[in-house]
C-alpha cells in the first residue's frame, strides 16, 4: 500500500485514541477538582498539564486553573487537545478517503462537523466527554466490522496501540495527584473503563497493589500498558511477515518491535513494587519508548520524499 495512506491510517488510530483517552483523563480530574475544593488548584492543574506534555509558563504569579486545562486539552486547536485530535483524525481520513471505508469517513466527518470550539463550549462538560468516548467507540467499531485484516488494518491498530500505551502511561503518572484526594485507584480504574473488569477479576479482595498490577500488567484487559504494547508488537510482526524468515532463528530485526518488546518485558519481568516505587519516572520511560517506536515506524514505512523546491539561478 502507499506509504502516504499507511501513514494516514496510523495517525487516524493515534488521534482517535488520543481524543478518547484525553477525554477520560480530563473527566476524572475535573470532577476531582470540583469535589475537592481544598486541593491546590494551581499546582494540580500545572501537574496535569505537565503530564499531558503541555508546556506551562513557570511564572507562578499567573495561576493556572480549570479554564486553562480546558483550553489546552479540550477545546484548543493544538493536536494535544480533544478537538484538535479529532480534527486531525478527520484530516488524515480525508487524505486516505479511497482506502478508508465510506462509513468510517462518514463517522469521522460527522464528528468533525459537531466539534465545538472555544466559543461554542458545550454547557455540560461531562456529557461532552461522554460524547467523545462514544464517537471513538464508533470509529473502532466500524473499523472492526468493515476493514479487512490486511495492512491498512494493521497500521490503524498499530497507531491505536502505541497511543494507548502512551496515554495509559500518562494517566498512571497522575496517580499521585489522585491519591492525595483519598480516592486513588478506583478513580484511575474508572477513567479507563476498567473498574468493573477489575472488580470481576479480583472479586472484591482488591487492593491498591492489584489495581496497579491491573493497569500496568494485565494481559487480557485491552487498556493495560502491557496489552497495548503487545498488540502493537503483533501488528508490527504482521506488517513485516514476509521478511520474518530470519527472525525465527535469531532475535527480532524490526527496531520498532524491539523498542516495544523491550519496554513490555521490562515491565513484565520486574517486581511490581520496583515499578510502582517511582511511577512517574517509569511511565515517562514507557512514554518515551512509544515516541521512539513511532519515529522508527515513520522512517521505515512512511518515507517522505522531501518536497524539493527549485530555485532559479540568477547569473
Amino acid at each position: 500500500m502507499l506509504s502516504r495512506i499507511a501513514e494516514s491510517l496510523f495517525w487516524i488510530g493515534r488521534y482517535v485514541e488520543r481524543a478518547d483517552d484525553t477525554a477520560r483523563i480530563l473527566d476524572v480530574h475535573l470532577q476531582l477538582l470540583v469535589e475537592d475544593p481544598w486541593a491546590d488548584e494551581d499546582t494540580a492543574c500545572r501537574s496535569l498539564l505537565a503530564v499531558m506534555g503541555v508546556p506551562v509558563e513557570a511564572d507562578h504569579s499567573e495561576p493556572v486553573g480549570r479554564e486553562d486545562v480546558l483550553v489546552r486539552l479540550a477545546f484548543g486547536p493544538a493536536t494535544g487537545s480533544i478537538v484538535g485530535s479529532l480534527r486531525a483524525a478527520r484530516e488524515n481520513a480525508r487524505r486516505a478517503r479511497e482506502t478508508v471505508s465510506t462509513e468510517m469517513w462518514g463517522c469521522l466527518n460527522t464528528t468533525w462537523n459537531a466539534l465545538p470550539d472555544l466559543e461554542s463550549r458545550p454547557p455540560d462538560i461531562h456529557r461532552f466527554f461522554g460524547w467523545v468516548r462514544e464517537r471513538a467507540a464508533i470509529v473502532a467499531g466500524i473499523a472492526d466490522a468493515t476493514m479487512s485484516r490486511n495492512d491498512p488494518w494493521h497500521f490503524l491498530v498499530l497507531g491505536r496501540s502505541i497511543e494507548r500505551a502512551d496515554m495509559t502511561a500518562r494517566l498512571l503518572a497522575t496517580r499521585a495527584l489522585v491519591s492525595t484526594s483519598g480516592l486513588a485507584w478506583p478513580v484511575l480504574l474508572r477513567s479507563c473503563g476498567a473498574y468493573e473488569a477489575f472488580l470481576r477479576t479480583y472479586r472484591g479482595v482488591a487492593t491498591d497493589r492489584h489495581a496497579a498490577e491491573f493497569l500496568l500488567l494485565d494481559r487480557l484487559f485491552p487498556r493495560s500498558i502491557v496489552h497495548a504494547l503487545q498488540q502493537g508488537e503483533q501488528c508490527l510482526s504482521q506488517l513485516s511477515a514476509a521478511e520474518q524468515y530470519n527472525d525465527r532463528r535469531i532475535g527480532v530485526r524490526d527496531d520498532a518491535r524491539r523498542l516495544l518488546g523491550r519496554t513490555r518485558t521490562d515491565l513484565e519481568y520486574r517486581a511490581l513494587a520496583e515499578v510502582v516505587a517511582d511511577l512517574p519516572e517509569e511511565m515517562d520511560r514507557v512514554q518515551r519508548a512509544c515516541t521512539a517506536a513511532s519515529d522508527v515506524i515513520a522512517s521505515r514505512y512512511f518515507p517522505h520524499g522531501a518536497a524539493t523546491s527549485w530555485v532559479t539561478e540568477y547569473s
Binding site: 494516514s8 488520543r18 470532577q31 469535589e35 486541593a39 505537565a50 459537531a114 472479586r203 472484591g204 518536497a307
Partner: protein, 570 residues
Amino acid sequence: MVELEPAPTPSAMPAAGPVSWRASSDSTRPSPLLVKPEPVTPEGSVPGAAVAWDEMFESAHTPRRAYKQVHSALSRMSGDELRSRVDALARTYLDQGVTFDLGGEERPFPLDLVPRVIAAAEWEVVEHGVAQRVRALEAFLADVYGPRQAVADGVIPLKVLVTASNFHREAAGIEPANGVRVHVAGIDLVRDEAGTFRVLEDNVRVPSGVSYVLANRQAVSQVFSEAFGDHRIRPLSDYPRRLLAALRAAAPDGTVDPAVVVLTPGIYNSAYFEHALLARSMGVELVEGRDLVCHHGQVWMRTTSGERRVDVIYRRIDDEFMDPIHFRSDSLLGCPGLLTAARSGHVAIANGIGNGVADDKLVYTYIPDLLRYYLGEEPILDNVRTWRLQEPDARAEVLDRLGELVVKPVDGSGGKDLVIGPQASAAELDALRTKIRLDPRGWIAQPVVQLSTVPTLCGLELQPRHVDLRPFAVNDGDDVWVLPGGLTRVALAKGQLVVNSSQGGGSKDTWVLRAAGSKDIEDRATHRRRPVPVLPEMAEPDPGPDDETTSDQQQQQQQQQSQGIRPVRC
C-alpha cells in the same frame, strides 16, 4: 408508610434522544420563577395539630446552618440554569437506566435536585441509634429461632411471635456461621414535629433502595457540583466493599475464598436495577434460581466450566419463594434444597430466613422493650407511639378516635391498605372498624405524624414536601456499620404524608456532613490549601504528519483543482 414502588414520570422528564453534547444548549428559554419557600402549612391534618418540622428553614426566611450553602447556591441560580440542571438530572437517569419496572414498563426513578442535608451531630444520633437497633434485632431473631428466652421472661407473648405472618418455623435451628441474620438492614425513620428522629418500621428481610442512594449521589454530585464541592460530605462509595466483606464474613466455617452470589428473581422484578448494580459493584455473579442446583447438601451454580460451589447467597427474593420443598411448591424463583443446605451449614443465606417476624408491626411495638431486655441499654431512637389493637382498652380508644389516627396492617409494607383517618371518608372508616373488630391482630394504629419537610422542586418552584429516611446498616458480625446517608424519599404531592413512590413519591440525595473538628473543617477555617504534588513534565504528544510544510502543496493542489474546473478558452 413508605415503600419503594414504581412512580409516575414527572412532566419535567425530557424524552430520551440521541446522545449529543448539544442536548441542553438552547439558552433562549423563558425564565421561570424561582419562588422562595413559604412557611409550611400542614394539610389534611387535624385542626390544631403541630406544624411539620422544616429541615431547611429555621424561620420564614432563615435557613438552618447545615443548609446555608445549598440555600445560597439555589438562590444564585437563574431559572434557566435551574431548568437545565433539572433536565440534565432526568437525562442522566434515563441514559443510565435507573428505572423502576411498572407492569413491564420501565420508568425512571424521580430524583429531586435539592439535596437533604444532615448535620454531623444529628447524624451521630441516627448512626448510633440504628446500629443499636440492629444489634437488638439480631439478638431478638437469634432468640426467636432459638431458646425464646424473651418469651419465658414475659417480655413478648409467644402468641404475638407465632401469629406474625412472616414467622417461619422452618428457620428454627438454622445457625449462621458467624451468628449474623441481619446482614443488611433498612430502618425507616421519620422526624416528628419537634425534629426528633423516630423509627417508623424495621426492614430486615430484603431492604431495597440502596442502589438509588448510590445512583442519586453520582448524579447530583455532577449536576449540582458547586454546592457539592462547598460541603464536606461523607462518601458513600464504601458500601459495596462493606457489603461484600460482610457477606464473605458470613461464609460457612473453613471456606477459603468464599464464592458469593446475588440471587435475583430476574429482570422483571421491580428492583432488578439494584440487584445488577450490587452484583456489578461487588464483582460477583448475579444468579437466578435456575442457575443454581443443590445436591449433596451443597449449592452449586451452572457455569461453562461445570458446576461451581456457592458459599454465600445474598438473596433478593422473599422467603416463600426460596425453596419449593419447604415453602411455596409452585415457586420457580428459588432452588429446591437451599434450606437443607443452609441448615447443614454448607451455605450462608443473607438475610436470614424468617427475619420477617421482626418486620411485623405488632412485634415492632415490643422492640424498645426487647432492646432494653437484650442489650441493657436505653433505646437511642424511639418508636412512633403505637396502639396494640389486641388490648381491649387500646382498641376501644382507637375505634373511638379512628378519624384522627393512621391505621396500618401489621404485615403490609409501604402504604398498602393504610388508612389516614383525617383524610378518609365515613364509609372507609366504617369498613375499617369492621376489619379491626374481626382481626385485631392484623392492625396497629398510630397518631398522624407530620413528617418533616425539605424544599423540593415542583415544576420550577421550591415547595416544602414531606420526607422520610431509610438508613442502611451492614452487619459483618464484628461491627454494625451504618452507611452515612441513606434513602430520603419525598412525597411530591402537596400535603401528601405517604412518601410511597406509587403515590407520586421521589427521592433526594442525602448529604451527611463531616463533624466539625475533623481535619477538613480545620482546613476550611484557616483557608489552608491542601498541598498537591508537583509532577514532572512529560514529553509533548507526538505530532502527526506535519501540516505546515505541506501548505505550499495544499495551495498548488487547490490551484490544480480550480484550473481543472475553469472552462478552457482558446
